[in-house]
């Protein structure tokens, strides 16, 4: 592979302005993963802060590497309708020439898409927080990023069957939101509930982390949706602006729902509403008018709010409500496009309300196929990993907290009673953990 070949690889032209924006957008989306780590870490108990955050950091590690090795090729190589080929494995022929259909370098396109894969893997970790063994999670994250994320990305973005049929998914309602949400449900079912779930009040330990994490996620989401037009053209600008409007409407409705239900507007509810609003506009960003985006934010708050109220009353410990916040909101957004897509604004196609009923059919197809695929494959994958290694920590370890057990660190170490030992001694004494029996 020589440089001149890479530069001259593809026909078309690279646009400087588009490339500049996409470089920034890629960095913005990458920041969403540590932001999610902060959001998740605030939602768990203090003794699991680092482990929860580290699950997001781990996505930055393994999902990125897997993406470069095979994930990108599975998602964006031509292949067939169901799965991409391996022609871009190990980033073969991914160079400085423009990616087909865009005016940005193929290499940058790959990096931008990588950040989506990373944050989606991190999202799933919310379902198994506070109990899954870190080693088993690393294996799961690596395999899931290829078997579930890359395949779904191929369906919706990479020329797969949903995209060919005409499903409109602007920035990841299929692969990112429904993909993570319904996988999270499967993961929670296979790994099982935390030992204290339903017996003790398991409260968020730092609401400020949650709010700050949500705020940074919203900030990053401008790159996520605004970059999904791959240019500074109208669809990217529309998606960018809708990313401002939709979550604001969700927040207002969420406040109202909180007031009706509990007589007080909650901070953690507000943080959740920001996420739900950003998810809602993800599939619709560049396809609906700003007015429709406000409506989507308002209406879409309802099913996710209901899901978050209902889920803790079940025995399913889908710990951080990835299903309600991402799966349900992503599904709502995908269906909304089927009604409210407007060619006047997007130049691509109309939805049911503007005279094209067929669009709703393609949207509904994605809203059925994606959850089924994500749930089934994730369920099977975790079952297989579970045969090879224990998926979760023992009850005693869970009681002690995953930070100390899995990482040998504490988020809030005081240093009192800590005695310096020489590095030669190494980590010889194991963490004192008793058998559950």
């Amino acid at each position: 592979m020589t440089l001149p070949v890479l530069i001259a690889a593809a026909p078309g032209r690279v646009d400087a302005g588009d490339t500049a924006w996409m470089l920034v957008a890629t960095a913005l989306v990458l920041m969403m993963t540590p932001a999610l780590g902060l959001f998740y870490a605030g939602l768990v108990r203090g003794k699991n802060t680092l482990n929860t955050f580290m699950m997001c950091v781990a996505a930055l590690a393994v999902a990125t590497v897997m993406w470069a090795l095979v994930g990108y090729s599975i998602a964006f190589d031509e292949g067939n309708a169901l799965i991409g080929g391996l022609d871009h494995a190990f980033l073969r022929d991914v160079g400085f020439g423009p990616r087909e259909g865009t005016t940005i370098p193929h290499l940058l396109f790959m990096a931008f898409q990588a950040t989506f894969c990373i944050v989606t893997v991190a999202l799933v970790s919310g379902a198994v927080a506070e109990r899954m063994r870190f080693g088993a999670y690393l294996v799961f994250a690596a395999a899931w990023s290829v078997l579930v994320y890359a395949v779904l990305a191929h369906w919706a973005f990479g020329g797969g069957w949903l995209q060919s049929l005409g499903t409109l998914d602007f920035a990841g309602g299929v692969a990112v939101e429904m993909g993570s949400g319904f996988s999270a449900l499967a993961a929670a079912l296979v790994v099982g509930a935390r030992k204290d779930y339903g017996r003790q009040a398991l409260l968020p330990h730092n609401a400020v982390y949650v709010l700050l994490g949500a705020g940074l996620l919203w900030f990053g989401w401008f790159g996520f949706n605004g970059g999904s037009g791959f240019s500074t053209g109208s669809s990217g600008v529309l998606a960018f602006t809708n990313t401002l409007l939709c979550p604001a409407a969700t927040l207002c409705v969420w406040f109202a729902l909180d007031l009706i239900r509990g007589r007080q507007v909650t901070a953690i509810g507000a943080a959740t509403a920001i996420i739900v609003g950003c998810v809602l506009i993800t599939p619709a960003g560049g396809y609906v008018s700003p007015g429709s985006a406000l409506l989507l934010g308002a209406l879409g708050a309802l099913p996710s709010y209901a899901g978050i109220v209902w889920r803790p009353r079940t025995r399913v410990d889908e710990t951080l409500d990835v299903l309600a916040a991402h799966g349900v909101a992503g599904l709502t957004g995908i269906l909304f496009v089927g009604f409210f897509a407007q060619e006047l604004w997007n130049g691509v196609g109309d939805g049911l309300l503007y005279g094209n009923a067929a669009q709703l059919g393609w949207q509904a197809l994605a809203a059925v196929a994606t959850p089924v695929y994500a749930f089934v494959v994730t369920f099977a994958l975790l079952r297989v990993i579970g045969l090879l290694m224990p998926l979760r920590a023992t009850e005693r370890e869970e009681a002690l907290g995953m930070d100390v057990v899995q990482h040998g660190e504490e988020a809030y170490a005081t240093g009192e009673g800590a005695i310096l030992i020489s590095p030669e001694d190494g980590v010889r004494a194991p963490v004192p953990v008793a058998d559950p029996g």
Partner: protein
């Protein structure tokens, strides 16, 4: 009257509360403390610094009870706080010279007996 002091694992504090409630012991104070018994030390590493954590987080219950409640209180602390491993904690029982209920000025046993509502 005795003051029963129980130092237990933080993760067992809820179980102890439940056991005390079942034993009809209602009044108690709880504080977070750090302590060291016979348990193994945890080793933690922060960058190049490896340390042995000699102090473990514990929760300290203080329960002032009239004599008939001493045994039930001790039993509840043992039952709720036990995992069978080193580090489960200790119970100290000390005599109480005087108890005063601030609201009413009651003293003695009636001051440590919960008000019937």
């Amino acid at each position: 009257m005795k003051l029963v002091i129980g130092v237990v694992r933080p993760e067992k504090a809820n179980d102890v509360m439940e056991a005390l409630y079942r034993a009809e012991v209602r009044g108690l104070s709880v504080s977070r403390v750090q302590g060291h018994g016979g348990e193994l030390d945890r080793v933690e590493t922060y960058r190049g610094t490896t340390v042995q954590m000699r102090l473990s987080e514990k929760v300290r219950f203080e329960v002032a009870v009239s004599d008939p409640y001493v045994e039930p209180t001790i039993n509840a602390l043992c039952e709720g706080g036990s995992t069978g491993e080193v580090g489960d904690g200790k119970i100290f029982v000390v005599p109480l010279e005087r108890v005063v209920r601030i609201r009413t000025g009651e003293t003695g046993d009636s001051a440590v007996t919960p008000v019937e509502k």
